[in-house]
């Protein structure tokens, strides 16, 4: 893998979004991944709809939580995703009003990625931003810098928040993952969270996945 990478500099990442008072991080993590895949494979960056997943993905639980792997299946079964503008975010579940005619993107499949962080970095650099799920310990009060909680405090077994890896690198010899969160740009570093890379911190390597766009 290259020593550092940042898809934000290459136009593959939309603006930071805000899930509001709703446990819909899983939807934002997946749309962020699909936005990246669509940009890299079809050349256009579109901001995609999380509300469609909240309303129409019946395998998941909208604001009470969901799984990226289920969401990929829902996108395939529904026939694609509408854009954020066409199916705007409300922050609570409503009746499904998805229209296949309005879908602007589709996915063909989804993949589970390696738990080896070097391989994850190589995959990210080559293939695009990765959906991951982490233990959100400390994030309530995170302001900036590279977080590296003690392992017992940030157990990889207590995963409770889905986010998007958009890059990696080193800051004064401290390796990090650049993570796009969905709590608005007035949280963390302009909406981003930086987490120590290489030790499986907070379970960052336990649930990495991506959609496939042919």
């Amino acid at each position: 893998a290259p020593p550092e990478w940042d898809w934000r500099k290459k136009g593959a990442v939309t603006e930071v979004k805000d899930q509001g008072m709703c446990g819909s991080c899983w939807a934002f993590s997946v749309t962020g991944n699909v936005e990246g895949q669509w940009f890299l494979n079809r050349g256009t960056l579109l901001s995609l709809s999380e509300q469609e997943l909240l309303d129409c993905d019946k395998m998941d639980k909208a604001c009470f939580g969901g799984l990226p792997s289920n969401a990929y299946t829902a996108i395939k079964d529904l026939g694609g995703l509408e854009t954020e503008d066409d199916y705007s975010y409300q922050g609570h579940v409503q009746a499904c009003s998805f229209s296949a005619q309005r879908a602007k993107v589709y996915i063909n499949d989804s993949l589970e990625l390696s738990k080896n962080e070097n391989k994850m970095a190589a995959w990210l650099a080559q293939k695009g931003p990765i959906s991951v799920a982490i233990n959100a310990f400390g994030m309530q009060f995170y302001r900036h810098g590279i977080a590296h909680p003690l392992r017992p405090l940030c157990s990889p077994w207590l995963i409770d928040h889905a986010v998007l890896l958009v890059g990696y690198g080193n800051r004064s010899n401290t390796p990090y993952w650049a993570i796009k969160n969905s709590w608005g740009s007035n949280w963390g570093e302009e909406g981003y969270y930086y987490l120590y890379r290489g030790s499986g911190a907070c379970g960052v390597n336990t649930m990495a996945s991506s959609a496939v766009v042919n």
Binding site: Q19, M21, C22, G23, C25, W26, M59, D60, K61, F64, G65, G66, L67, P68, S69, N70, Y72, T73, D109, S110, L111, E112, L113, S114, A122, W123, Q126, K127, A133, A136, F137, G138, Q140, F141, Y142, R143, H144, G145, I146, A147, H148, P149, L150, L153, W157, L158, I159, D160, H161, A162, R171, S172, T174, W183, N186, W187, G188, Y196, M207, S210
Partner: protein
């Protein structure tokens, strides 16, 4: 019923407030303790003692009380396990011209609380907690910080009680952030964020995703690694 006061150092007042003087701050402290609880799940006060110090325009009450938790067999309704029936609590209540503000609430099951305060390392890195009673300008300083938080994040609260409760949560969260900061091995800085007036439970319930732990999710095929590709 007030309990007999213990011997004191010269510069501190004795725990000898009468029950009538204790009533208002004690009742306010109990209301804050029971905030958000449904009827039938509220705790009641047992023994109590208190002392007062004049600060600025008001009085700062330091209370020590036993709080009796009702018997509870529904863990979803009562946050405490049933076996912790009696809590020993210390409260700091600021009374300014009849308006009360809870500055500090520290409770623990009667048998564990004593060990907690014996934990020297705990007291060494949180010097603010060592000062008993709180320094005179502490509450004023915290109130200023809290007001700045409210302005920054455009916070409004439904009632004065709600605002006082959120102030208490905010103060407690600053201490939690200090702990997380002290234990982080990276370069992160923790402190006031837009979630600083939420309790840990509220933050977890509203913003996080318990499904990620509970359900395995659909099995996906494993991606080939890049050099394979």
């Amino acid at each position: 019923v007030p309990v007999p006061a213990e011997p004191w150092t010269d510069d501190e007042q004795a725990w000898d407030l009468s029950s009538s003087e204790l009533l208002a701050p004690a009742r306010f402290a109990l209301d804050m303790y029971n905030y958000g609880r449904a009827a039938g799940t509220r705790a009641v006060l047992g023994a109590i003692r208190g002392r007062v110090r004049r600060v600025g325009r008001g009085s700062l009450f330091s209370l020590e009380a036993t709080v009796e938790e009702p018997l509870c067999n529904d863990p979803l309704v009562c946050p405490l396990p049933m076996s912790n029936k009696t809590m020993l609590c210390s409260f700091q209540v600021l009374d300014e011209l009849g308006k009360h503000m809870l500055l500090r609430r520290d409770c623990g099951p009667v048998n564990t609380k004593v060990t907690e305060y014996g934990n020297e390392t705990f007291s060494s890195f949180l010097p603010l907690l060592n000062k008993d009673p709180l320094p005179q300008d502490f509450s004023a300083e915290m109130a200023t910080v809290f007001k700045h938080f409210m302005t920054t994040y455009n916070r409004t609260y439904k009632s004065r009680e709600e605002a006082q409760w959120r102030f208490t949560v905010f103060t407690r969260n600053l201490i939690r952030a200090q702990k997380i900061q002290a234990l982080d091995q990276g370069t992160a800085e923790y402190g006031i964020t837009k979630f600083s007036d939420l309790t840990e439970e509220e933050f977890y319930t509203i913003y996080l995703n318990p499904v990620l732990q509970k359900e395995p999710g659909r099995k996906m095929s494993l991606a080939k690694s890049i050099n394979d590709l």
